[in-house]
Structures are given as C-alpha cells and as structure tokens.
C-alpha cells in the first residue's frame, strides 16, 4: 500500500510541472529522437531559446523511439490526438499530407533561401515540411584497400562505372582478405532498402513508380532496365560478393571496421563512428554510375504542422527559428548529419571545406534524388523492399518485379489514385 502511495505521489508531482508559462500558447512538438541524448539535448536548446526569444508561443517536446515513431503518429491521428508540430520523415510526408494529418507550412521564402533542395518537403505545389539536415549514402572503403588492389579512386566528376565497380569487387574477392567484398547492409530491414537501393535501380534506368503520373508502376519497376538491375542485384549475392538478407545485424555495425568487408554501402551517420573506431584512412566514395548517372537517396527528417494545430503561424515561426545556421551546425557536429546550407556546413568541424566528411555535402548536392513524392510511396516502398529481398534470395527477377508492379498498381487503384 505504501508503495502505491509513493508511486502515485511521484506521478502527481511530475504532471504538476507542466502548468508554468501560461501566458504563452502551448504548442506540442513530437520528435523521433528518444534515447539519443545528444540529439535531445540539441533540440531542447533550440526550443528553450525559441520560448525565451518571444512571448507568444511555448513549445513542449515529446520524444519517441525512432523505430516506432510513425506508428505512434498514425495511432494518434486515428484517435484524434495529434500535436501541433510533427517531425516527419521526408518520403512519408506526402502520405500524411494527403491523409490530412499535415497542413501546409506557412514559412517565408527567405527562411529557406539557399537550403539544400532535399531538405524542403514539397507536395502538391505546397511546402509541407522543412528539415535542418539531409543524409547521404556513400561507398565506404579504406584508401589502403584501394591501393593494395590497384583501384582508381572514383570522384564525383568521374564515378566508377558498373564494370569498374565489379572489377573492384572481383579484386577484393580474389584477394581472400575479406569475408565479403561488399556490405550492403541487408541486415537493416525497412526504409533502408528503398532509400539505399532504389537509387541503384534508378541509375540503371528503372524506378519504383512512374514519376510523371504516379499512377502506374508497370513498365517502370519491371522495365528492361529494372530487370537488368535485378539481375545485377541477384548476382551480388549469388556470386558471393555480399552477405544476404540474413546478415548478422552486428556485422552490419562493425564488419567494415573489423575488416570483414572491403567496401560498405552506408550512410553519413555511421562515418563518425568509423573514424572514431580508428579507421583513419576511410574514404567515402560516390555512388557508381550504372548508365543514367550516379544517384543516391535523399530526404531526411523534417518539421511540419499538423492539421490539428490551431496556430500554424506559430509553428512556422518555430521552424524558421530552428532553421538558423548555428543550429544546423550544432546538429551536424552532434549527430553527424549533413547541414542544410553551405554556410552552416562551413561552421561545422567535419563538413567544412577540407573536413573529413565534406564529401557528403557534395554527394547530397550532386547525386541526390528524392524518393517518389507520392502518398503511395509508403506502400510501394514495402513492395520494393520485399522484391529486393526475394531477388537477393534467388527468386526469378522478371517474375518478382512483375508481381511488384501488379501489387503497387493494385494499391494505387484501391486508394483511388492517391489524389494525383
């Protein structure tokens, strides 16, 4: 009984704190960074400074674990319980905007002047979300590996061709120094697949859906180019260049660092950890060109205003406040993301000209292609993920991509064209 009392007392005390600062209109903000101390700390600074810089609004944050953030938001929307400001993953934004979870963000044009295009979430000719940063993917390698194997270092101007990439993988495989030549991160299920691998397909000349209409996938995800991509993708696993879908998650995290893999296809967020682990000569190579130019995914977490928000101008004011270079630089230094502007990049340690990760900023600027901007992306991405996993496991390429096309089209149909 005593325990219950103390427990209830503690609960009451913690809710009492929320009552302060009544003069300001409270705006709730949901964020995906629970469990990340650094990120939470940075966000809290942004919020505290916003709250004390003006007297109209007061932002209160609630953080969620990233892996279940989208589910939490969808559940709240269903229950009619959305906060004012929502953090949203770039490719998911159109789905939420279409469903009416978000309203257009009334942000001024000058606030986003000079920002990386991929940090601005546009849908249906409106801006719905803006982010402080982007993420990029690169081919991790050690300079020593390139030297040993006698490989040309690819550059943004002159990336590897498909043949050069395959020659590099062959050389790495033949050397016998590695468990696998290439680590693609197949252990990471979910959004990683479309984010990291659909650009390969796009570089081949295929895509997930037809971007001119967003109404069909047949002849795109199963086009000849897409099938060619599929054959290549399958060969990576069949011929033992890369570990398959059963890759140990821990190997994904540390395999490259431990020297199990010669190359690793990984995001900029892992760069700091790789450098810290003592891989001093790591180089971040641009995506290969498979025919129609090198491509990588784009679009990371951004801020938007929910439809339940009664003070969208207040939310926009907060987003504009957050978009300051100093905050972008701070986030970048803290959690390794690519700052949204050149100016902010110069203020960082790692992304400033000559910094160890500056290359990612260029990658983002030169190679980035956002994922299909359609509410149907959420489902298409799942279909794409499963198709790639199946092909990696030996399924017939043409059949699998055909089935994927059918499924995506069925979904578009049952959503009455997703409003396009």
């Amino acid at each position: 009984m005593k325990l219950t009392k103390t427990l209830l007392g503690a609960l009451a005390a913690s809710t009492a704190l929320a009552g302060a600062a009544a003069a300001q209109t409270e705006m709730k903000l949901w964020y995906h960074g629970a469990g990340n101390d650094v990120e939470s700390g940075l966000l809290n600074t942004v919020i505290e400074e916003f709250n004390s810089a003006q007297s109209d609004y007061s932002v209160v944050v609630e953080s969620f674990p990233q892996q279940s953030y989208n589910e939490s938001v969808v559940a709240s929307a269903l229950a009619g319980n959305l906060p004012c400001i929502l953090d949203v993953d770039g490719p998911v934004m159109p789905n939420w905007a279409w469903a009416g979870y978000l309203q257009p963000l009334p942000i001024s044009q000058e606030a986003i002047e000079g920002h990386l295009d991929s940090t601005i979430g546009r849908y249906d000719d409106e801006i719905y979300s803006v982010g402080l940063w982007d993420a990029a993917v690169a081919l991790y390698a050690r300079q020593s590996t390139l030297d040993e194997l006698g490989l040309r270092t690819p550059t943004l101007e002159e990336p590897w061709s498909k043949d050069e990439l395959m020659a590099a993988l062959d050389a790495a495989k033949a050397s016998g120094n590695y468990d696998y030549a290439l680590d693609l991160g197949t252990a990471w299920t979910g959004e990683w697949y479309p984010y990291a691998f659909s650009p390969f397909m796009q570089s081949f000349g295929g895509d997930i859906v037809d971007r001119s209409t967003y109404a069909s996938a047949d002849g795109v995800i199963n086009s000849d180019e897409a099938i060619e991509f599929g054959e290549w993708w399958q060969s990576l696993f069949e011929e033992g260049y890369a570990p398959g879908t059963s890759q140990d998650p821990a190997d994904r995290d540390v395999g490259f660092i431990e020297g199990k893999y010669a190359f690793s296809w990984n995001g900029n967020w892992a760069a700091a950890a790789t450098l810290d682990a003592g891989v001093d000569d790591v180089v971040f190579l641009p995506a290969p060109d498979f025919g129609t130019g090198p491509k990588i995914g784009a679009g990371s977490w951004q801020f938007g205003v929910s439809s339940a928000c009664e003070t969208p101008e207040g939310a926009a004011a907060f987003v504009e406040h957050a978009l300051q270079d100093k905050y972008m630089a701070a986030f970048s230094d803290g959690i390794g993301l690519i700052p949204g502007t050149k100016e902010a990049a110069q203020m960082t340690v790692k992304y400033a000209d000559g910094g160890p990760l500056a290359v990612f900023f260029d990658l983002s600027e030169k190679q980035a292609l956002v994922r299909p901007v359609t509410p149907g992306y959420v489902v298409a991405a799942k279909v794409f993920e499963k198709a790639l996993a199946d092909i990696a496991n030996g399924a017939d390429v043409a059949d699998t991509l055909d089935a994927a096309a059918d499924e995506i089209e069925k979904d578009i149909e049952s959503n009455q064209g997703y409003g396009h």
Partner: protein, 356 residues
Amino acid sequence: MSSKLTRSNKAGWLFAMPGFSLLFLFIIVPFFFAFYLSLTNQRLVSPNEAQFVGLENYRNLLSVAVVTLEPETDDAGQIVRDEDGEIEYPRVRTITRSDEFPQYRGMGEWFRWHWGDTAKVVIASDVLFMKALVNTLTFALFIVPLQGGGALLLALLINQKLRGINVFRTVYFMPVVISIVVISLLWRFIYSGNDGLLNNILEVLTLGAFTPIDWLGRTDTALGSIIAMSAWQGMGFHMVIWLAGLQAISPTLYEAAAIEGASKWQTFRYVTWPGLRNTAVLVLIVITMQSFAVFAQVDVMTNGGPLDSTQTLVFQTVERGYGKQDISGGATISVILFLMVLTISAVQGFLTRERK
C-alpha cells in the same frame, strides 16, 4: 450432475458478469468491429471514405484457380527447349494480365506441376496469403508436440524430491521470463551463418566435419529454426502448467501405486497421466492457439523471408494492416484465422472430450 444445491441463476450471473463484461467490452466488441472492417475497403491512413464491399476482401484472399500452359512452339511447330532441355512455357502473366481472362486478373503463380508436355499452374489471387497459411499450419503442427511434450518431460524431471530442485525449476523457466522479442534478437546471433554460436558448437562436436549453415538464410532451414527456438522459449511456460497439474495429484495415489508394486511407467500410465487430463487439454489448446499467433519471432528474425518461407498469418495481418495501411485486408486475414482456429479447437475439443 445436476443438483438443486448448485443451481442458481442469480449467483451464477453475478459471479461471472464482472469478468465477462470486461472481456466483452475490450475483446469481443473490437473483434466485431474488425469483422465489420473486413467487409469494407477501409484504409489505415486515407482521406477517402470507406465503402462497404461485401465479401470482396475474402475473394481477394481466397480465390484459387488452375490454368494449363501449353509449351511454346517455334514456327515449325516444335516444342521450344532451353539449354538444359527443359520445356519453355509462356509466362503466367500473359494470362493474368490479359483481357481475354478477366477472371484471372491480378492473380499470381503459387506452384506448378507438369502433366505430359503441359504445365498445370495453380494461381491464387493472394499467393502470399496462401504461403503464410501453409507455414502457419506447419508451425502449429510441429510446435504442439515439441513444446507440449518437452514441457511435460521437464515437469516430470522437476517434480522430483531432490535437494536444490527449486534452482533447476527456476533455471528452466528462465527463457519464458525474457520477452520473445529479446529472445529472437539473441538467437539471431546464435543462428548467424558464418561464425554463429550454433555453427561453432556443431563444428566442435563433430570435430570439424560439420559445414556451417546459414540457418535463417536458407528456405529449407529458416522455418525449422524458428520452430525450434519458439518451442524452446515456451517450454518453461507449459512446464509450470503441467507442474500445477502434477502437484494437484494426491500423494496417496502414488503411495497406493507404490504399495501395489507398480513400475515407474505403470505409475505414469495409470496414475499420473489420468490425473493430468484437464491439464493436457489446457496445454494442447493453449499451444495450438499461441502457435497460430506467431509473429514477433518472424518480425525480428526473418521478416517473412527468405522467399516467404517464414511468412505467417499474423505477420501478414500486421504487415498489411499497418505496414501497407490496408487495415481491411489485415482484418480479413484475422477473421479467417479466427474461424480456422475455432474449427481446429472444436475438433480438438471433440477428440479430447470426456468419454462418459
């Protein structure tokens, strides 16, 4: 059985009502709502109004047909063969996407067999559902004897009067204490293909003769690996239930058996097992039902792969309802699952009924 002493409508309802009304409110009502959803085209996330679609969701899941493919022939009328001498057939998609066969539209190949030169192809409107159905049944079929029998052996082992037996009882129960999500994460390390723990142990035991297997990465071992792990994890749970049953058997019966000079097996056969009747029914039904709900293991360990070899019904419910935002499709699977398990339990109930 009936007796005036125990007949009481008022007391009966009064005792049962608090529990039943909560169950009604929080499980039965939502389930009826899920059933209603299965008759609509409701989406999880959408601005569109849902419409009543009748049994269309059920048709979309359950339709199956057989089509016959004639071999491809060249201009001379000869059957075309590929390099390996296998007969080449037209692609199934020439039928399922053709306007000539509107009834097969959108269906896909489930499996095929050959009949002379022709190929018989079983096409289903939802191949994934069919595969999930087969896998779920396989899972249930193997795990019931494995887990239930294993648990009984553990319970018998632990039901001895030995010093320190409590320690062992606790130890055997340990896997149950840990969440299945966590267990699945740990076992991903154990099952890992190149230098996983299991492969290493087997290599040591066979003095190196064993070649490492990528347990979760092969279509022929993935489901078996998940079954083994699941049986292992839940054994302690059912051990406790068996134990409660064993403990309830009167010691005097054992004393009587000992006086009669019954062997160990005879004691088990004529004293223990009859005393465990109700427990056995409980264990059987609970494992069966739990096995049809298999989800977390698949979600964490294989995501349904490789090549759908570990797809299960509940995994598909979740994947569709939440992942693909097709909440009515997900609800339809759960209704089918419900009806299926209800039938199975009714059969089990009939087979294990008390014969009077």
